[in-house]
Each structure stands twice: as structure tokens, then as C-alpha cells.
């Protein structure tokens, strides 16, 4: 059952990705990408990463893509872009490159194989942790989704949070600084300059 879901959603995700890169219209590309993100969210749920699934939808599909759509509409680049004469004859090479890449990835994966199966309890993860809580357990993947509801143990989000705020506290703080810097940067870069003025809804340089 899970497999069927996986296959279907996987097909959808690949299809949407293909459509995304093939579309001439940037708006359509963006929308297909949003669809792809939703598929990924489903995958996360299938794998038991519920928090991430929600975050995926909220942040990626909800914030990032919205931002991109805004910019697409702002810059008015939604027109179909003319075909790329420059590439011309080399276009197939891009496709071939993709296949080569895929092949290599598969080769590496096959060579080194999947990582070893974890113990079912998951109580013996290698890293030293100072978390006061007991090492959270991940429900085995085989358990159907429905069985997760109402689990007696600590919820997934809490478990994630426990690890995040203990072992990965420093990266967390650094990331917040990074976001601050990004905000500042974006604000400064994108602000209106005196030498620009709005022409037909778009800021155009006048000097």
C-alpha cells in the first residue's frame, strides 16, 4: 500500500520536475515546482518526518515560492522567453549530462550500498548527547501511518526539538544570524534607489 503511494507520488514528482524545467513560461515553471514540493511533503510524511513535511509546505511552498512568484510578476518575465539560439545544437548534451549524472549517482550508491540497518530501538546512536530526555525512538517504518496516531511516547516534534536544541544548538543560533544577515542584505539590495523611478510599475534606472 505504501509502495503504491510512493510510486504514484514519485511519478508525479518527476513529471512535475520535468515540466518545470521544460516550461517557457516562468509562471508555469513556478507552479509546477510548487506541485513538486507538495509531493515531497508527502514523502516526508511517508517516512515519518511529520514536522518536516509541514515545514516543507509552509516554508518552501508557502513562502519561498510565493516570493519567487512575486518577483516573477514584478519583473514581468512571465512572457515566454525566446528560444535560446546560443545553445542550439548543444541542447541534447544537457540531457545527456543529466543521464550521466544519474548514472554516476546510481553507481556510487550501488558501490557503497545502503547504510546498515539501525536497531529497532534506536537507543544506541553513536553520538554523545546531553539530552536529559531518553533517546527518542523512531517508530519503525513498517508501521502503517495510522498506527502512529496516538502513540504513547513523546511526539515527533518534541523529539526533533529535543535533538535540535541540545546537540545542534550552536548551528541553530548561527542560522538565526544568517537569516538576519540575509534580511539585511535583501533589504539593502532591493531597496529603491533615487536614480530609479517607477515606470509602468517597474523601477527603471533613470540615470
Amino acid at each position: 500500500m505504501e509502495l503504491l503511494v510512493f510510486l504514484g507520488v514519485a511519478a508525479l514528482s518527476v513529471a512535475s520536475a520535468l515540466m518545470m524545467i521544460a516550461q517557457r513560461n516562468a509562471m508555469y515553471s513556478a507552479l509546477f515546482l510548487v506541485l513538486n514540493f507538495f509531493c515531497l511533503a508527502v514523502f516526508y510524511v511517508l517516512m515519518g518526518a511529520y514536522f518536516l513535511a509541514v515545514v516543507q509546505v509552509a516554508v518552501y511552498a508557502g513562502a519561498i515560492m510565493v516570493l519567487m512568484l512575486f518577483v516573477i510578476m514584478l519583473l514581468n518575465v512571465a512572457q515566454p522567453e525566446p528560444s535560446d539560439r546560443r545553445l542550439g545544437v548543444f541542447r541534447p548534451f544537457g540531457v545527456i549530462a543529466a543521464f550521466i549524472l544519474l548514472a554516476e549517482l546510481v553507481a556510487v550508491g550501488a558501490r557503497y550500498g545502503a547504510p546498515p540497518e539501525a536497531q529497532a530501538t534506536g537507543a544506541t546512536t553513536a553520538a554523545v548527547t546531553a539530552t536529559p530526555l531518553a533517546r527518542p525512538t523512531i517508530p519503525p517504518a513498517a508501521t502503517p501511518i495510522a498506527d502512529h496516531v496516538g502513540a504513547a511516547d513523546v511526539g515527533h516534534t518534541q523529539q526533533l526539538a529535543a535533538v535540535l536544541f541540545s546537540r545542534y544548538l550552536f548551528p541553530f543560533e548561527v542560522t538565526s544570524v544568517l537569516l538576519l544577515v540575509a534580511i539585511l542584505g535583501a533589504t539593502i539590495l532591493a531597496r529603491k534607489r533615487p536614480e530609479y523611478e517607477d515606470v509602468a510599475g517597474v523601477s527603471v534606472r533613470i540615470k
Binding site: 515546482l33 517516512m47 519561498i64 544537457g94 543529466a98 534506536g122 544568517l178
Partner: protein, 113 residues
């Protein structure tokens, strides 16, 4: 189930990790293709996002495989950084568009050696 003349292949009840990895690889390759082949800066950006998500997918798959949270936490950070990157990148694109009136990535070749 009706009997079939040939034995059915063994269908695993769970999705094997390799399946996710292959899917991740496909998405990654598609993202690469998009980066190379597309002309508009915004589309390239979106392809990059695709690549990032493909990687996220494989991270989570491994997290599940190993029974650890580390993979998921990594995905968390990747998303945060991706958000920051998108914000700044789009700001740059807007700025370039303002001065050059083009979002064509081939036109930004001023660092030519």
C-alpha cells in the same frame, strides 16, 4: 487476489531506502539540467531549489534508515539556508533587472577576464 500464471515479484511492504535515493538522484539530475539549459535567471533559481529538495529527500531517507534525527535536522537547516539564499538572490536579480532591464543570465557577463 486472482491467481496469475507467473509468480508475482516479491513486493516489499515498506519502501526501500534505495528507491528514495534513486528518486532523489533523478530529481537532482533534472535540477542540474535546468540550471544548464535555461536562460532566465529565475528559472535557474528554481532549478537550484529543486536540487536542494532532492538532497533533502535523501537526507530524510537516510535518517529513517539509520534511525536518527540528524538527517532531519540537517534538512531543517538546509531549508533555513535555502530561504535566506532565495531572499538574497532574488534581491540581486531585482537589482540587476533594474539597471539592465534583463533577467537573461547570459547578459551578466561583466566579470569577463
Amino acid at each position: 487476489m486472482p491467481a496469475l500464471p507467473f509468480p508475482l515479484p516479491e513486493i516489499p511492504a515498506t519502501v526501500p531506502t534505495e528507491a528514495y535515493l534513486i528518486l532523489s538522484g533523478i530529481l537532482f539530475a533534472l535540477g542540474c539540467t535546468g540550471v544548464i539549459l535555461r536562460k532566465s535567471a529565475l528559472t535557474i533559481f528554481m532549478s537550484i531549489e529543486l536540487m536542494l529538495n532532492a538532497v533533502n529527500l535523501s537526507f530524510v531517507a537516510f535518517a529513517r534508515q539509520l534511525g536518527q534525527f540528524d538527517g532531519q535536522i540537517f534538512v531543517f537547516f538546509v531549508m533555513a539556508v535555502a530561504a535566506a539564499e532565495v531572499a538574497v538572490g532574488l534581491a540581486i536579480i531585482i537589482d540587476i533587472f533594474r539597471s539592465r532591464c534583463t533577467a537573461d543570465i547570459d547578459d551578466v557577463s561583466w566579470l569577463k577576464g
